[in-house]
Amino acid sequence: MLISTALVMLMTPGLAFFYGGMVGRKNVLTILIQCFILLSIISIQWVLYGYSLAFGPGKGFWGGFDWIGLTGVGLEPYKDYSATIPHQLFMVYQMMFAVITPALIIGAFAERMKFSAFVIIMILWATFVYDPVCHWVWGVGGWLREMGALDFAGGTVVHINAGIAALLTAILIKRRKGFDRKAILPHNLPFTVLGTALLWFGWFGFNAGSALAANGLAVNAFVVTNTAAAAAGLTWAIIDWIFNDKPTMLGTATGAVAGLVAITPAAGFVSALSAIAIGACVSIFCFIAVAWIKPKFGYDDALDVFGVHCIGGIWGALATGLFASKAINPDGANGLFFGNPKQFLIQLLAVLVTVAYSLVVTYIIYKLVDIVIKVRVPEKDENLGLDLTQHHENAYTVIE
């Protein structure tokens, strides 16, 4: 579990490179600092009160304040979450999930958000969106958990939650300047591939670690995670080949991430063969979202957070309701394809609740911050790039 925690921690810097490579040269440091500052801020927030709100023993809207500052969160196991690992280990493992979830949203408003506004929005979002949703799905006494919603490693809590917030933020902050004129090109695709590799690597901790033990279930999660990522990366490359004449690196990397997203909620409940189906389908759905739906509606979800994470997450959550099997995990449930249509409806409800709640609260947070300090940078700053204007730094020198 210590290793898994470290693996998930590495995903946020991985995400920083994944996103950083896709933005312009003048905005890469902005992406990196946003990811790294979240690693700092949310780590502190989690210790101070975030863990208590998300996983505390309260049975209402969130977990309550009993575990503020880790009061009562000791080195003995807390049986309701895991009987075999120290409570603080569970806490710090979950911390890394709390860190990467808001970081996912960064890709939607890339290249145009003021840093100060970013910090405030993210603290509020972690507190009022992530922590409650996390409590409902994973916390003891959480109502979606009680209802039987399956989310092995964060399809709803992480990906749908962040993905829908990303879509809304992209719409509210409006398009980047020149977005309609031409595609804004990635400045360093090797960075993006490096980030993808770190994400894939870290995802083993994310999914297999969610078994909370080094056991058969963890092995199953590990195997299906790799299988789904492989199937989805391959599928995207084939789709590229058919529709755009050539397979592309960015497409293959995007597909792999989409596959990892989709298998996340299902990792502890499905077989490797189901993982191939989940991975192959997710690339088709995400490709449609990114290549057709986005241009049709004209929103500027800069790095396709909604198209990959939300769509992939929704498919994954629903696919869990289709492919889940008690043969894989006796503590789980059977899905539609294994004779239990009710599970599919429960999954659907969990998706809808997450989408609706995240939309409403993200909207309120965004509008509040926008009224107080304006979220978007002035046009002049956007032209010059956020690295220079928000951070007084340049990523690349030209002379020496």
Partner: protein
């Protein structure tokens, strides 16, 4: 024959290209350069060390034209690059002594294109 050199903001390149195409000017050499005019660049800070007046990234366009294209080219560049903000750039017009197309060895006006 004239050589027109324009220094513009990087984010204006697309619109300048569009205006040039509209004016039937399809030949250009584009460079990325550093420089600053009266706005004196920006200050950068690295571990507390302040770098004053750092040079800004600019785009340098070079376009060789025949006499009848000089004004349309200048107008197109202005139309595409002008924002009214400081740092919009400059256009220089130089006399061009000779132009040779390497493939055919044509010289002078016809070689320009």
């Amino acid at each position: 024959m004239k050589l027109i050199i324009a220094i513009i903001k990087p984010d204006r390149l697309e619109s300048v290209k569009e205006e040039l195409y509209k004016a039937d000017v399809n030949l250009m050499t584009v460079n990325e350069v550093l420089g600053h005019g009266r706005q004196m660049g920006v200050t950068e800070v690295y571990r507390g060390a302040r770098e004053m007046g750092n040079l800004l990234r600019k785009i340098r366009l070079e376009i060789a034209v025949n006499e009848n294209f000089v004004e349309p080219t200048i107008k197109a560049i202005i139309k595409g690059a002008q924002t009214g903000e400081v740092g919009d750039g400059k256009i220089f017009v130089l006399d061009l002594a000779e132009c040779i197309r390497i493939r055919t060895e044509e010289r002078g006006g016809p070689a320009i294109g």
